[in-house]
Structures are given as C-alpha cells and as structure tokens.
Symmetry: C2
Subunit: 338 residues, 2 copies
C-alpha cells in the first residue's frame, strides 16, 4: 500500500508534483492517537534525532560539570545556519572543554545564509568545520567524552561510548528492542533508523517525562525547555523550526531532519509527533509539520509562520506562479479533535 499524498505543488491551475508520506502522533503512554500512512517501517529521523543525541550530555552530568547553559543545550540540538550566533557559541564551547575545531569529526560546508556565504567568498575564506550545521551536536559529544575522561578521537564511531549511550536511550524511549539499523549521517555521526510510530512515542516522553525515573526525566524536560527557549539557535534566521517555534510562543519544540523528516514535542498536550516524506523532500515536510501544528492550534495568524502552510512558488522574476499546499488527505485530516 502506498502512503497517501500529503502535499501538492501547483503551477497555474495544474498540480505539477505530489509528495507522499506518513505521520504518527503518540501520547506519553505510547498510544498512537493519530496516524496517516505506514508508520511501522524503520526510517532515519536524521537531525530530528538531535534531542536524543543531546540526552547523554545532560543525563550524564557533563553539561553541569562544564557549567553549560540552556543556550549550549539548544545548540547541541541544532541544525544551525552557520550564523555568528551559532559559530561563535560553538567555538567558545569547544574552548571551554579544552577542544579545538580540529577535534570535530564533521566536514565543512558553507553557511546557509547566502549573505554570510558570499561575504566569506569575497574575503577568500573557506568554511571550516564549525560551520557544519551539526557542530553543536558534535561539541556535545566531545563534552561527554571529556566528562567521562575518554579520548575524543573516534567519538563519531558507532561503537564509541557516547554513541552507544545515544542508541541505548533511543531504544529505551522508543520501545524498540535489539540493535537499531544504522548508517552514517551527513555529519559523519551515526544515523539510527526506527519506525515513525516508535519515534513519536520517544518524542511524547520528551513532552511528558513524568512517567520516567528522575535523572532522565529532568534531563529530557531540560532539553525540550532549551529548544523552546532558543528557537534561533536550533535552526536560524527565517528557518521553519525557528519561525514556527517563535510563533507558538513556547508551546512546541520542533526539529527538522534531512530527507523530509520532522519531529515535534507538544508539552501542554503530552504529545510527540514524527513524520517523514517518502521521497525525502524537505519542502514537503515543511508543509506537513506546518499543517499538523496548525490543526493543533499552534500556528498563529502571522504571515511569516503561515507562509510555510501555503508556500508560494516563484519564477526567476519573483512572480508567484504556483503554490505548495497540503493535499486533501492532510488538509482534511481529523487532528483538531485530539
């Protein structure tokens, strides 16, 4: 059975392209309260996993041992845009733990902000590893290594203590037993795969950790609060995660992942939301997360936020020639009743 068409892209009066996908919403007891499509096949949350990848940092006591603030924790959960607010914080954090940029295992890529990338080209500067959107996550891994007093070299390997701790936490929170399928992420860290339903359950525990034992429950609540407190650090200027979190005024934490993934934590409702676009298009996952949050009453009437819901398609003269919008199966989904 194919997943339903959830997003459509039009040109003039004609639908030009469509995106299929799956969505699961779970509560903290593990009940799936809403779903669309196939939610039991393992897929990679990619960067939507970052709140779990930040868990050993907080749970181990490493964050407190190094005097980290909620800004550091938000940056550990970030796929940041490589703005100075991100790179300067990551660099200062590396210095704080006695590490250098060369200790980061991730590769370099340019800032996502065109004006920053262009200014660097003009100055003849090459982007370095600190510009990698995952440099905060990697600095978090390094902090755990320092705290546990193990070598930093090799921290990105699947069987290194900090990665084993991530995998164990993910298994426990999602309820998936045995070794999770894994691959190598764009940033070189391990990428784990699990069903959308299972990851929604893990996210619901972030939304309501009250059923969990104390140190973990506190760590999870602190991570969610850090993301919500610093939307601009989790992504960047104009990015959907940042814009929708700001617009929701503290009511939701959201995190994009590559290849069309999105995760959301809704503390007030005790809900976790996970979704994936079959074809990996982030343009579609942006429409999907905006539509789901809108149905939950979390997207206020602000132009910048609502443009993710129905996004104009423009030609090279910047004229609107079509739009990206929820398809009927998503637009008509009965999520409001949750």
């Amino acid at each position: 059975m194919a997943n339903p068409i959830l997003v459509e892209v039009t040109r003039g009066e004609t639908v030009e392209s469509v995106h299929r996908g799956a969505i699961a919403i779970a509560d903290a007891r593990g009940k799936i309260v809403f779903s669309l499509g196939e939610i039991d096949t393992p897929v990679f949350p990619r960067s939507s996993l970052k709140m779990v990848q930040a868990l050993p940092l907080v749970e181990s006591g490493a964050a407190d041992a190094f005097g980290l603030t909620s800004e550091h924790i938000a940056l550990a959960c970030a796929s940041h845009s490589g703005e100075s607010m991100h790179t300067e914080r990551a660099a200062a954090w590396l210095a704080k733990i006695g590490c250098a940029e060369s200790d980061l295992a991730c590769g370099a890529h340019p800032s996502r902000v065109e004006s920053i990338a262009e200014a660097m080209i003009k100055r003849g500067e090459k982007p370095t590893r600190i510009f990698n959107n995952c440099s905060g996550k990697h600095t978090g891994f390094l902090t755990v290594c320092r705290h546990w007093d193990v070598a930093v070299n090799g921290y990105e390997k699947h069987d290194y203590p900090v990665q084993v701790a991530v995998a164990r936490a993910l298994g426990e929170l999602s309820g998936v037993g045995g070794e999770l399928p894994y691959g190598v992420d764009g940033c070189v860290a391990p990428a784990f795969a699990l069903p959308i339903a299972a990851f929604a359950r893990a996210l619901a525990k972030f939304a309501d950790p009250s059923l969990l034992a104390k140190p973990r429950a506190d760590a999870m609540a602190r991570i969610t609060a850090a993301m919500i407190a610093h939307p601009e650090l989790v992504a960047g200027t104009g990015r959907i995660d940042t814009v929708l979190m700001r617009a929701a005024k503290g009511r939701v934490a959201i995190k994009a992942g590559a290849e069309g993934y999105f995760a959301a934590i809704v503390p007030e409702a005790g809900l976790g939301i996970a979704m994936k676009v079959d074809d990996g298009a982030s343009r579609a996952s942006e429409t999907m997360i905006a539509a789901v949050l809108d149905k939950l009453g979390l997207v206020p009437d602000e132009k910048e936020a609502r443009e993710f819901l129905r996004a104009p398609i423009r030609n090279t003269r910047n004229e609107i020639v079509g739009e990206r919008r929820p398809a009927p199966a998503l637009a008509g989904a009965d999520i409001a009743a949750l």
Copy 2:
C-alpha cells in the same frame, strides 16, 4: 493507483527514501511500445519541451534568415550552466538580431558552475539575464519576432504569436486536441502540460520525422541533429544531458526538465521517451533516464556516464554512505527487448 517506485536512495543497508514515477516510450506512428505507471494525466515537461519551443525558430525560416548555425539551435534547446561558452554565444546572437540583454524576459540567476558563480561574487558582479539557463531559448523566441517583424516586447506571453506557434506545434505533434493546460515557467515563458504518453509520441516524431510534411520534418531533424552535435551547449560541463549524449556518441538526444522530467529522442530506433518523477526530484529522473538508456544499450562502460546509473551518496567528509539506484520495478523492466 499509485505510480510504481522507480528509484531508491539508501543509507548504509537501509532504504531511506523512494521516488515514484511514470515512463512512456513511443514510436513514430504513435504506438506506446513500453510504459510504467500512469501516462495519461497532463504534466509539465518544463525544459524537456525545448526542442518543440525551438521549432518555430527553424520551421519559420527565421534561423536561416539570420544565418544561425547548429550551435545556435542547440543553445535554443538548452538549459545551460551559464559557462562562457553559453553566455558569450547567447550575447553574440542577441547582437546579431539587433536585440539587447534587456529584451530577454527571463530573470537572472547565478551560473550553475560553482567556480564561475564564486568568481563573480569575488569580482562583485551580479548575474544578469544572459546567465538564465533559458537565455538561448528566449533569444530564439526573439529571433522569431524579428523574422516576423512583430514587436519583441511581450514575446513571453501565452497569446503572443511565437508562443501560439509553439502550442500549435505541440498539439499537432502530440496528437492532443484543444487548448493545453498551461502555467508560467521559472523563466517566465509559458509552460504547457500534456500526458507523458502524448509527449513521448511527439518526441518519437523528432526521432523519425519521415511521416511528416517536408518543412516541418526537416526542421525537426535539424533540431535533433543540433542537440546531438553540441551536447556541451545543451547543458554544461559534467551535467547529465551533456555526459550521456557525449557517451552515446550521437545515438540519442536527451533533455532534462525541472520537477523531475526527462525527454529522449533515439533516431536509430525511431523512439521517443518521456518520463516524470511524481515528486519532482531531479535526482530521481537522472537515475531513471540513465537506467532506460542503459537498457537500450546507449550508456557505454564509462565511469562518468555510469555514475548517473548508481550514484554514490556522500557525507560532508566526502565519504560514500549510501547510493541512489534503480528500484526493482525499473531495474527489472523489460525495455531491452524493444
């Protein structure tokens, strides 16, 4: 009924994303000799339409009146990379017809070649309209206006004589009656929509125009020959159209279109091939066209060409972490027997 999964993208041992799509192969008599998926719904060929958009240029006598060569005709069919071989030829052509760059209706965008785009940023130069990948097509439209002695202003409008001629030719070649659905393309010219099956029939007539009346048949053969003679003008250095046309040594003309379209003309077999990825991903249409041409024996054992067939996915350290490949429904398709 959903279209079949034709391309899959892996990470480690896990399939991360999949792409669905449809393919039609027709002969010059209009028979569909092979198909996969739904081929009777109107979709936009986008830039895969350029050989038809170049038809009035040649058929009207405008090309000969202005002494255009096969290079000009190839450039009229191009989605070029904005390399100097493209922009200088387009600029000289504009001068030849007494037009200026400001007569082009398309918007500007940077060259697709990173080193060219970066060098322009360093020099503080902004890309101008001549860098638009469609500047050759637009110069072709302007040439027809000059030849017909009509104003150039407004040539991009759907009801302007040169666009009416394109629509009429497309209707005649594809066998689709009545007005075709249309929208505005990225380059501001009209984008027409028609079924994949119908466009495959039109492409088959380019492959074998022998059943058509003389002036049109000659014009079509000349356009196909121009594309085949100048693969580097039709796209650019390292691009799939250029690489696969070169590798096939004159046996096929191919043309990508935005949102996951691909068109191919195989003169020796009298076949036209059209395909579209449902979700609009060009990474998938690249795998699809490479797989279909490979089955027809048109992709020789050359590394650069065969990498489009099974394309490595790399992380930010340039290590291979997965691959993009034909899914079973495409890998196992019985096209070789044609």
